[in-house]
Symmetry: C2
Subunit: 210 residues, 2 copies
């Protein structure tokens, strides 16, 4: 598949949020969506079982392996990744539609998915959410209490390794206080819309009005 | 003179604000300084006469040509520029000191000066303040009422030409509503501090705390 280059001045921003499990990506995204207009969350599909409290169409679309494979084969996924024996994917059509309507779209995806999206959307905004320390990360993962000992250990090891990919991202937000982390992500979105290379077509309008 | 590369994680950001005369740079900087901590304005020296209301040491240090030439020859200026037959310059020592103390420093300077600073501080943040339209710019310059007809005409022509240098900057902020423009500049400062290439040393601390 080719690259999607955002040439229109009215297109929204594609914002990719990832980071180690336990860093608080989900909480950051939830607050962002509550506080922002024109910001849409892309809901992923997954083959994993819902955790307690997770809802169909809110957290994920929970689908079986057969449906997942069909979407994959039909080219309906922007990216997909295998994480701890389960598959996750981002449905393509909705993302492209929202961007073309001028809405910003958030993808909350893991590092594998983020790298795939980056290869297709080089002008996306890639934000890595970090825990304030690895010790705090360990506490957060352990306190979630929704996984077995074996899953926890795998998850912590993976988290530690993911941090090595940070240089592939544009921004790092350290999630010490959630309010501060959300403010930083909102600032990044505002700042990105002022970047010279995104704003060129608007400048022509201004000069034209001489 | 060599480049000043900001290697220390505790150093402040150098923020360069320029844009055409009449775009509202001064108002934006004033509001920023009122609302922000750890933000210092660099006061330029100039050989031009004070405008009505301008104060020594607040708007500029007003000096004569002899003093200006001495500072220039002694290497005490970070940059200098000639604008409409007058000289402007940025005293070097204070800027470097504030940055090393961890304070962010704002330079409100013209395009010539900004390009010189960029060659020495490639990791500075270069922000161009734009009027919402060239017509509005003309109104703003005319309504200021502090210049002769000839000066106004020179100023407007220079403003129009300056816009061609916009690609040398990192960000453009369109100053339609002052409150929105200030919010954008504040967001840019917050976002820049989250950029991966500025934050690497902090990440080592976090990983070290495994």
């Amino acid at each position: 598949m080719g690259k999607y280059i955002n040439n229109s001045k009215d297109n929204g921003l594609l914002i990719v949020i990832s980071g180690p499990s336990g860093a608080g990506k989900g909480t950051v995204c939830k607050s962002l969506l509550e506080e922002s207009n024109n910001l849409k969350l892309s809901i992923s599909v997954t083959t994993r079982k819902p955790r307690i409290g997770e809802k169909e169409g809110i957290n994920y679309y929970f689908i079986d392996h057969k449906k997942f494979n069909k979407m994959l084969n039909d080219g309906d996924l922007l990216e997909y990744a295998k994480v701890y024996d389960n598959y996750y994917g981002t449905p393509k059509e909705k993302v492209l539609k929202e961007l073309s309507l001028g809405n910003d779209v958030i993808l909350e995806i893991d590092i594998q998915g983020a790298l795939k999206v980056k290869s297709k959307f080089p002008d996306g905004v890639f934000i890595f959410i970090m825990p304030p320390s690895m010790e705090e990360l360990k506490n957060r993962i352990t306190n979630r209490g929704t996984e077995t000992e074996n899953e926890l250990s795998k998850r912590f090891k993976a988290s530690y390794e993911e941090i090595n990919y940070i240089s592939k991202y544009n921004y790092v937000v350290i999630n010490d206080k959630i309010h501060e982390a959300v403010k930083k992500v909102k600032s990044i979105i505002i700042a990105e819309k002022c970047r010279v290379d995104r704003i060129n077509s608007k400048l022509e309008d201004i000069k034209g009005g001489k």
